[in-house]
């Protein structure tokens, strides 16, 4: 795991359908400057910058980190650009942390963003090359069959997805940055919305958001302010077209979790982890990932959700921030999970703070549920 690394600054923009008032540079600067302010630093104090985002087709700017270099104070410094599909935000944090853990730098700024309103996500995610006939329409079209299979295997009742959709949006009402803030959200409202990709209802999906998130990571000697210490980092990838691949409970996710738990000394995640920010873009992925990440036995994840354990006042709150279901600037969504985990253990999450959070999990996944990035951050130095 290398040298110690801590999160010392977090910055987010408000997430919304269209940020009409800013350029791409303005958007990322907003998050970056807030993270620097949180750390009590300026661009001058930063050794290297890591940028992450999902496909460049969203903004129609190829490798935009080149254009953004000076906007992020990177002139004369090393800059990296990460792209690991939907998990990219998480991977961006891990690449930044790696620079500190490897002893290469003392302070690294990581930034992830998406300005989805410049085009349309379903278009960008459904551009098919000739000869490769595919009937997958957007991310929902891809994930719906796997959710259906989860329901068949576990016999989970239909309303579990609705519970998550409500719970995460209630949490979003406590997060000033959240995109979807739906007063009075309840099961009836979710159930009244149409099926888009059956079994996924409209309000069981994530929004398309504009937004950016940034963090300042530091080595032990360079810590300023309130640190969230990195206790473990892991990434895993598996081939999408492997025969016999379990798309409901992917091995890559299980292995990634095992790796990060081992580093952090976690043997019982349900008991030892105080709060988790997990990439749940469709409501059913909460029970699926509860099992994949070892918070519940196989087939039992939906029972944990149903019991209310994952609510803000439950014993293992998941997505206290409102999660991806409430804010989804795709390239940034993973980094937001990681950053929200850090905010929790820094006791800086505001109204959605989980009391006494000492150990938190940040999680992101991407591709056909085949790329995974995770970290565990804690209040204590490891």
């Amino acid at each position: 795991m290398g040298n110690r690394c801590a999160v010392i600054g977090v910055g987010q923009t408000r997430y919304t359908t269209k940020r009409r008032d800013v350029s791409i540079a303005g958007l990322v600067r907003e998050a970056a400057l807030r993270a620097l302010e949180d750390a009590g630093l300026t661009f001058k104090d930063i050794d290297a910058v890591v940028v992450g985002k999902a496909p460049d087709l969203f903004e129609g700017v190829m490798m935009p980190e080149a254009y953004l270099a000076d906007a992020l104070g990177a002139a004369g410094k090393p800059m990296m650009r990460v792209h690991t599909a939907g998990s990219v935000g998480g991977s961006t944090a891990l690449v930044g942390a790696s620079l500190v853990q490897g002893g290469v730098h003392d302070r690294v700024l990581v930034v992830a963003f998406e300005k989805q309103s410049e085009s349309n996500a379903t278009w960008a995610l459904s551009t098919h090359l000739p000869f490769n006939a595919s009937l997958v329409v957007g991310a929902g079209g891809y994930f719906a069959p796997h959710i259906r299979e989860y329901m068949r295997r576990t016999g989970a009742p239909d309303h579990i997805g609705t519970l998550v959709a409500v719970k995460d949006r209630l949490n979003a009402l406590k997060n000033p940055y959240a995109h979807l803030r739906i007063p009075g959200i309840d099961r009836a409202m979710v159930e009244s919305t149409p099926m888009l990709w059956e079994p996924i209802r409209y309000l069981e999906t994530c929004p398309s958001s504009d937004g950016a998130c940034a963090m300042v990571l530091a080595s032990e000697s360079a810590v300023t302010g309130t640190p969230a210490w990195v206790h473990g980092t892991a990434m895993r990838s598996e081939p999408i077209f492997r025969a016999g691949r379990d798309t409901v409970n992917p091995q890559g996710g299980k292995d990634c979790a095992a790796d990060v738990y081992r580093q952090a000394g976690v043997t019982d995640p349900r008991r030892q982890i105080d709060v988790a920010e997990v990439y749940v873009p469709f409501s059913w992925y909460e029970p699926m990932w509860l099992e994949n990440l070892g918070f519940a036995a196989e087939g039992e994840g939906w029972k944990l959700t149903e019991s209310g354990a994952t609510a803000l006042d439950g014993d293992i709150p998941w997505n206290a921030s409102g999660g991806v279901l409430s804010s989804n600037p795709i390239g940034a969504s993973g980094l937001i999970r990681f950053a929200e985990a850090a905010l929790q253990v820094r006791d800086m999450a505001g109204e959605h703070q989980v009391d006494g959070a000492r150990l938190a999990l940040g999680h992101a996944y991407g591709g056909g549920a085949q790329f995974f990035a995770m970290w565990i951050v804690g209040r204590e130095r490891p």
Binding site: M1, G2, S23, I24, P55, D56, L57, E59, G60, V61, M62, M63, P64, A66, Y67, L68, A69, D70, A74, A75, G76, K77, P78, M79, M80, R81, V82, H83, T84, A85, S91, L94, V95, S98, L99, Q101, G102, G103, V104, A124, L125, T127, L129, A234, M235, R236, S237, E238, P239, I240, F241, R242, Q251, G252, D255, C256, G367, Q370, F371, F372
Partner: protein
């Protein structure tokens, strides 16, 4: 820092036109080759570099995983950058000390689209991209700023092509320059002479608009074996000539890094990374001195290029004048041999070409023909971003 070495390098026999292979099919032979060389089936870390806009589809790297045999699941990451930066990320990862081997690869098929206009998409989307400023045009602005001598540029191209003809992986490009390119339409190409190419300032150069330019099309290219290939035609943008421009190329490359005891187990003559650093500079072309590369100079200093002799330097020169800029920035001694592989002017598989420079520099140490070499990679318009490695036996 922990000692890390390049213990294997493989590249495809690059082609000037689309062979019809998918990206995983393109990568497969180089992955097989480095696995065979090292005897490794699993690596502690894997990282790759590629570009969605080259492939014309989002997530082009996803299917590449299928070429690796990534099972059980692997610890893996991807940069939307040249594979050289994937190597950098892997080098950083090996510094942690808990894993000892890493697989790095880069791949790209620039034959699929019009590379010149695709590269426009990398520019500032408000001030530069709407102008339709294409890759050859912005490179021409930099060439004008350098005020390079035509004879010197032609000599660089001739030397690179000659070296490429001796390199089984590079394209076979003719010794004759402009006249040999697309003879059927030679009349379209205004031959430039050294006497009329030296504008006094960059601002004197009016870049031709994208619409004035005949883009190279895959259909203009005679396919089949590398030796048969005529490079796709590029019209001149003063002061650049078509021959100054790296050829359209498809290809891939892979490198294996090792640290600790693994180094000696995997390679008889490992190429140790004694220094590696990269730097970026401001983007907007009017806000930097295009005649110099401050970021390449900074990276070279940080990597320690000047701490010893440099027998061979493999430079990521996609345009002839970039060699002049980089030679100065890296402060290479006069006796350093530049691009003995032919460099990108002889084969330029975009997103792999930078990694290939490092691989080619390592290969000279692997085969015992050099003991201290430099590999360089560049990204962004007009050498905006530069990475320098120093390798020693």
């Amino acid at each position: 820092m922990r000692d890390v070495a390049i213990v294997a390098f493989a590249q495809t026999e690059h082609t000037a036109s689309d062979s019809g292979q998918s990206e995983p099919e393109l990568i497969l032979p180089v992955i097989e080759e480095v696995k065979e060389r090292t005897g490794l089936r699993r690596f502690g870390f894997t990282c790759s570099g590629s570009c969605d806009y080259l492939a014309g589809a989002p997530f082009s790297f996803v299917s590449a995983l299928d070429a690796l045999g990534a099972w059980p699941p692997i610890s893996e990451s991807h940069v939307e950058m040249d594979g050289a930066w994937a190597l950098y990320e892997a080098w950083v990862r090996l510094q942690h000390g808990d894993v000892d081997t890493a697989l790095v690869y880069g791949f790209g098929k620039s034959s699929l689209g019009d590379l010149r206009s695709i590269m426009t998409l990398q520019l500032d989307p408000y001030y530069l991209a709407p102008l339709g400023l294409d890759q050859v045009s912005f490179a021409a602005l930099q060439a004008a700023a350098v005020r390079a001598d035509r004879a010197e540029l032609d000599a660089i191209v001739r030397r690179s092509r000659a070296a490429g003809r001796d390199n089984p992986y590079a394209l076979d490009l003719p010794d004759e320059l402009t006249d040999a390119v697309a003879p059927s339409r030679a009349s379209d190409v205004a031959p430039s002479r050294a006497s009329d190419v030296v504008p006094s300032r960059a601002s004197d150069v009016v870049p031709s608009r994208a619409s004035d330019v005949v883009p190279s099309r895959a259909s203009d290219v005679v396919p089949s074996r590398a030796s048969d290939v005529v490079p796709s035609r590029v019209s001149d943008i003063e002061p650049l000539r078509a021959s100054d421009v790296a050829p359209i190329t498809d290809g891939a490359a892979a490198v294996v890094l090792a640290a600790g005891d693994a180094v000696a187990e995997l390679c008889a003559r490992p190429a140790y990374i004694r220094g590696i650093a990269h730097r970026i500079e401001p983007h907007y072309l009017g806000m930097r001195d295009l005649a110099r590369s401050a970021s390449a100079a900074d990276a070279a200093r940080a990597a320690g290029v000047g701490k010893g002799p440099v027998e061979v330097a493999e430079l990521h020169t996609q345009f002839a004048h970039e060699e002049i800029i980089l030679r100065r920035a890296l402060e290479l001694p006069a006796d350093t041999v530049v691009n003995p592989s032919g460099g990108p002017l002889a084969a330029n598989p975009v997103m792999a070409a930078g990694l290939i420079r490092i691989g080619a520099a390592a290969a000279r140490i692997h085969d015992g023909t050099a003991s201290r070499t430099v590999g360089h990679a560049a990204g962004g318009p007009c050498l905006q971003h530069n990475l320098v490695t120093v390798l020693e036996g």
